[in-house]
């Protein structure tokens, strides 16, 4: 396996110093669920790494709290902690859902939200949800702190705006307005029998008379960078939610995916799947019955 040096940081300060010294050739190690696999598989993206800075013991970076309507997650918060958090379950239930479906129990106990973000896999489950929440990443380096929206932080598959010497310390988002309903659905990818890793995050708020006031639709593993699909959102905004509109929005979203990514071998199959997934998620968030439900128990 790949050779590298390893330091265990005992404080944030120490971690930042080590990362800054290592520069381009250094990276952080949180839960290690992505990084170690990458090293073992001799991932080309990691070939230049010579120093690994273990931040796994910085417990001060593992927290979930709310301040002035803003929910903040420390970068080292595990998927399991998020899935079980009563705050998240109430404030952004689809984030809890997404985290509860990551990998296996063991992976959820070790994998962190910061790692999920920084690894920026097209299939990372928290990404579409965080984008739908319009979350921000808090980045620290010896030079100071900056904040970047998640939607800009992720620049492409496995590419982020993380600069040498920087660490993600927190992810934060404004608590969605009361009355917001959310839904996250993914195709079971750890099962043998599933297509790609498509998922969809929906945040929906209806006003008086059931008119859709706010709608955010973010597909996962469908676009090069997770993003809201506004063309599909338009179909619903200002309208009363119906099964037909949800279907239309789903199809629009699928068309947009094709427009942005072009035709690939998998496209003909992804299209109907993401369209259906989106329709279902919108209807679930909106509390409507899907027409195409199970014929028998």
């Amino acid at each position: 396996m790949h050779k590298f040096d390893y330091v265990k940081a005992r404080s944030l300060e120490e971690a930042l110093r080590a990362l800054s010294q290592g520069g381009e050739k250094a990276c952080a190690l949180a839960g290690g669920t992505d990084l170690l696999v990458g090293f073992r598989a001799e991932d080309a993206r990691l070939r230049h790494i010579e120093l690994v800075v273990d931040i796994g013991d910085l417990t001060e970076l593992a927290y979930i709290r709310e301040e002035n309507g803003c929910v903040a997650l420390g970068a080292l918060t595990t998927h399991a902690a998020i899935a079980e958090s009563s705050l998240i379950r109430v404030a952004a239930p689809f984030l809890a859902t997404a985290c509860s479906q990551v990998g296996s129990p063991q992976i959820r106990n070790r994998g962190t939200v910061g790692g999920n973000l920084c690894n920026a896999s097209p299939a990372a489950d928290t990404l579409p949800v965080l984008v739908a929440l319009e979350a921000e990443v808090v980045l620290r380096s010896l030079g100071g702190e900056r904040r970047v929206p998640v939607s800009r932080f992720v620049e492409g598959p496995h590419r982020t705006g993380l600069r040498p010497g920087e660490l993600v310390t927190e992810v934060r988002f404004n608590r969605p307005l009361p009355g917001s309903r959310t839904c996250f659905i993914k195709l079971g990818r750890r099962k043998a029998m599933s297509i790609a890793r498509l998922s969809i995050a929906v945040l929906l708020r209806t006003g008086d008379g059931g008119v859709v006031e706010e709608i955010r639709l973010v597909p996962g593993a469908a676009l090069p960078v997770p993003a809201r699909v506004t063309a599909a959102e338009e179909i619903l905004r200002g309208q009363g939610l119906t099964v037909e509109l949800a279907r239309e929005a789903g199809e629009k979203l699928a068309q947009e995916m094709v427009r942005i990514t072009g035709q690939r071998w998998s496209t003909p199959y992804k299209v109907p799947a993401i369209a259906a997934l989106t329709r279902r998620a919108i209807l679930t968030a909106g509390g409507l019955e899907d027409v195409a439900t199970r014929s028998q128990a």
Binding site: Q106, I195, P272, S295, Q296
Partner: protein
């Protein structure tokens, strides 16, 4: 290097580690705790799980440094003071252990679950095991084991039972593997667990291009790297061609492969190899080998490869040899048929994925001129011939030994790494252990032949088949390997399932620049049955006939005559399988269920058959030696290679039954070309049929000798004596008896001609009937995502007689897991331009996991097949034959569409649905 402390199994270890070392590496390589297995090193198989502060963690994904200060428990730490943990005991008792390679990781995962959740549901068990792969058991008995352990733990018992008296009925009673205790405790020493003093680590460089001549190869930088002891390329390789699938001396098959050649013929072909002091150095050295390729045109499709303009993979063109088998007059039959239906069905490249990676250890003793090779291998005697021919050594100077094998399924039948390891040892003068990475195993060992089938079936209005014409193109890849044997075996099976008086099968085995196809469980039968059973289902539906009824009208009956050879098909009980299964499955009721909505249910059935050994094709012989010991115990010597399926357990049971012993009283010396008698190899489902019979023959010889001596000791007639409970006794007055140990000692010390009670018996097969199975599947398809859930599964098999029902069930359940993958998920996908396998990982290649498995019910038809020992016949391969078509037919039934390409993935399902709104 840095010193860290690890607390493992309650003991504190101080070790020097590199920062990049994983816990797995430290456990296995530094501390020698090899009970923890490595099946992938990339977090995909779960074989390496250990407990870290009570959580089951894949130790290949955890840095050793990060494990400091934590409580680590490995499989070795589970059984304190020799007392097995209830989970371990439950794995043994339920038959959840076969090859045992997944077992330590499974047990650890189960233990972590039960510590936290003493009352897990089936779903929770599957969830906890979802990232633990097993290729042998279909997870059925593993899930049962966890349930049983939970019950024991709740009840405060540890499941220890006081059974096992000697004697009594042995054959027909379920019995765990004889080496199960070693496997659940991590004591089994597999290939990669072996160490010899001064041993080097070998790694192989594989070609990055599909077809090329090597213009220049420069190994000087690799050789200069400190720690590198030998580098070998085609320049060092003896110019002796061989066929890795050789079965016996003089076997007439194309010899087209070299250890290394100056031409590479597929992306993944061997280019060079390195031996170094440690694995890391060997891997680094591979990257320092400079190779310049002159690329040649390549072809990946078997039908394309037959066109005149296709680039030849070997001199002489891409068709290896047209094969044909026929009975009756096919043209006339099809002309006279009421209807003729045709189909083209395409089958994928799949691969074995035995959990244990391929590995071989070679030691060349230059002074003695002797080569010893340990290898995870299914055919040590043929490998010995191959090595002796390549290196020009006399056969008695080559010794091949098979340690316990972690699953094989045909993938370890051929000599792949053994010649490389030998060459490295020859050049370095040291023992060399060559191991392969999972990625390379999936590409550069062997695969199942992909194929394209053209089928044409003539039927009468009532559904009677009158004639059938089958043509298939078999993609054998870059080397011939089993290019002739697999299609020939396949053709033979075609004549033994349905009453088709006019039948012709034509096969074109074709070279391409694809990974090499070879033996894989079923040896052609899964291909034939997948294509034909899917085709016949379409025929039945077009005739408006129920698929079960259609088969009922056409399946062979006991005593039917094989139209090709005019010989009897034996006691072929496939119709019994059909009836028994349809009843248990509830076919009638289920076929009346309405269909509609997003989730649609469907049912499918398929029949299949496979052989018992190689009778009629070539030699099929083995020898078993037995020696009685002074205390009445026995030692058996057999060249049979147990791969975890339990063949030596079965042989012990046969011997024990004849001699009135307990199988525990028999020790086995297995699979060593120097110590054990000759065997043809573990393939062709010949274990029970041939080795079982040899064991029976040898045991009967021992029995005669024991009775002869006993008769003179007791002064009675031989025919009045019986063996049982460790004694020879008088049938009429059982008190008149003498113990086996006294007999043995008496024979040894006899003044009239002292002798050893021993037998050395060869058995050559005398017939080749088939084993049959009929499978039933019920699925639910999500029409939105294309996902299939297999809900219920019933498998019925005609096994003659089950010597060990527990292991027979285990074979069938494992065969179902493999077949479901063939039907629904598994495929090595080749990039059409480069010929690169794009999903050569356990993430990209989708195996059925515990979660994906349906409820499986196994039923046996035990009507006896007379030449088999106690009427038994094979199951190993037959088990996987009917699976894929059964489940694909069920999906087709659910959706009312037809499929003509496997696997039926969600992608293909959605594509079909979009065409039929």
């Amino acid at each position: 290097m840095e010193k860290i402390q690890l607390k493992i199994n309650g003991r504190l270890y101080s070790v020097k580690v590199n920062p990049n070392w994983t816990l797995l590496k430290v456990l296995r390589q530094i501390l020698g705790l090899t009970g923890t297995k490595c099946g992938c090193a990339t977090g995909d198989c779960g074989a390496c799980k250990v407990l870290v502060n009570g959580e089951a963690v894949k130790s290949c994904t955890l840095l050793a440094r990060k494990a400091q200060g934590k409580e680590i428990v490995t499989i070795e730490g589970l059984s304190r003071g020799g007392e097995l943990h209830p989970v371990q005991r439950a794995f043994i008792e339920t038959g959840a252990v076969q090859c045992g390679f997944c077992t330590p990781g499974m047990i650890i995962a189960a233990k972590a679950l039960l510590d936290k959740n003493p009352n897990p549901s089936r779903e929770e068990i599957c969830e906890a095991l979802q990232d633990n792969l097993c290729r042998c058991t279909g997870y059925v008995k593993i899930i049962e084991a966890v349930e049983l352990a939970a019950a024991w733990l709740k009840g405060g018992t540890n499941g220890a039972s006081g059974e096992c008296a000697t004697g009594g009925q042995v054959v027909g009673k379920g019995r765990p593997l004889r080496d199960a205790v070693d496997k659940v405790t991590g004591r089994t020493v597999y290939m990669a667990d072996m160490r010899l003093p001064g041993m080097l680590y070998g790694r192989v460089l594989f070609s990055p291009v599909a077809h090329a001549r090597i213009k220049r190869i420069d190994v000087s930088k690799a050789e200069a790297l400190p720690g590198v002891r030998a580098v070998v390329t085609y320049k060092d390789s003896p110019r002796v061609p061989y066929n890795s699938a050789l079965r016996f001396k003089g076997h007439d098959i194309p010899h087209d492969e070299y250890i290394f050649d100056d031409t590479v013929r597929y992306l993944g072909d061997r280019v060079a190899a390195v031996a170094a002091d440690d694995p890391e150095t060997a891997e680094k050295a591979l990257r320092l080998i400079e190779v310049e390729y002159e690329e040649l045109p390549a072809v990946f499709d078997p039908e394309e490869a037959l066109k005149p303009e296709a680039p030849p993979v070997h001199e002489g063109g891409n068709l290896i040899k047209k094969l044909e088998a026929a009975a009756g007059d096919v043209e006339r039959a099809l002309d006279g048929a009421d209807y003729v239906f045709t189909d083209r069905i395409k089958l994928p490249i799949v691969t074995h994925v035995a959990l244990e990676p391929h590995a071989s250890l070679a030691q060349f003793d230059a002074a003695a001129g002797k080569l010893t090779v340990w290898s995870a291998n299914q055919n040590i005697f043929a490998t010995r011939i191959i090595l002796s021919e390549i290196f020009g050594l006399s056969v008695n100077k080559v010794r091949v030994i098979k340690p316990p094998v972690g699953g094989a399924f045909g993938g370890k039948l051929e000599a792949i790494l053994e010649p490389v390891a030998a060459l490295l040892s020859l050049k370095s003068g040291k023992p060399v252990l060559v191991e392969m990475k999972r990625r390379d195993i999936m590409v550069s060992t062997r695969t199942r032949h992909s194929a394209v089938y053209y089928l044409k079936t003539g039927v009468k209005k009532d559904g009677t088949i009158v004639g059938q014409d089958i043509t298939a193109y078999f993609n054998t890849g870059a080397y011939a390997s089993s290019a002739l044997n697999v299609p020939s075996a396949m053709m033979d099976k075609a004549f033994r399932l349905y009453r088709i008086p006019n039948l012709r099968v034509t096969v074109y085995p074709v070279y391409t620049n694809c990974p090499v196809a070879g033996a894989m469980r079923g040896y052609g039968s899964p291909q034939l049955m997948a294509a034909r059973e899917i085709h016949l289902d379409k025929v039945a539906r077009k005739l408006g006939l129920d698929p079960v009824e259609f088969r009922r009208r056409n399946l062979v009956r006991p005593g039917d005559i094989n139209p090709r050879f005019g010989t009897s098909l034996g006691n072929c009980r496939v119709l019994d399988c059909l009836e028994k299964g349809a009843e248990r499955f509830g076919w009638e009721a289920k076929s009346r269920q309405p269909k509609g909505g997003r989730f649609r249910r469907g049912i499918g059935v398929a029949a299949g058959n496979h052989g018992n050994g190689t009778f009629g094709v070539h030699v099929d012989m083995t020898t078993v030696a037995l020696k009685m010991n002074e205390d009445g115990t026995l030692t058996m010597f057999t060249g049979t290679q147990d791969l975890g399926q339990g063949s030596t357990t079965m042989m012990c049971m046969v011997v024990a039954q004849v001699l009135g012993l307990s199988p525990d009283q028999i020790e086995v010396v297995e699979a060593d070309t120097e110590l054990t008698p000759w065997d043809l190899g573990t393939y062709a489902s010949r274990g029970v049929w041939v080795s079982g019979n040899a064991a029976l023959k040898a045991a009967q010889s021992i029995r005669r000798q024991l009775i002869e001596v006993a008769a003179s000791m007791l002064g009675v007639k031989e025919e009045d004596l019986e063996l049982g409970g460790g004694f020879a006794y008088c049938r009429h007055s059982p008190d008149k008896k003498v113990s086996l140990q006294d007999i043995v000692v008496a024979a040894q010390l006899s003044k009239e001609g002292s002798r050893e009670i021993r037998a050395y018996e060869s058995f050559a097969s005398v017939a080749g009937p088939n084993s049959y199975g009929v499978h039933f599947a019920e699925v639910e398809v999500d029409t939105e995502t294309g996902e299939v859930k297999v809900l219920n599964y019933v498998a019925v098999h005609d096994v003659g007689r089950a010597i060990n029902p527990l292991l027979v069930e285990g074979q069938i359940e494992g065969g179902i897991q493999m077949g479901l993958g063939y039907g629904l998920t598994e495929e090595l996908i080749l990039d059409k331009r480069s010929g690169k396998v794009i999903n050569a990982t356990l993430k990209g290649y989708k195996l059925f996991r515990a979660k994906d498995m349906p409820r499986v019910e196994v039923l046996l038809v035990e009507e006896g097949e007379s030449p088999g020992p106690f009427g038994a016949k094979s199951i190993g391969e037959a088990a996987t034959v009917p699976v894929a078509p059964a489940v694909v037919n069920a999906v087709a039934d659910a959706l009312g569409v037809e499929f003509d390409e496997l696997p039926v993935t969600p992608q293909r399902i959605l594509a079909k649905l979009r065409r039929t709104p």
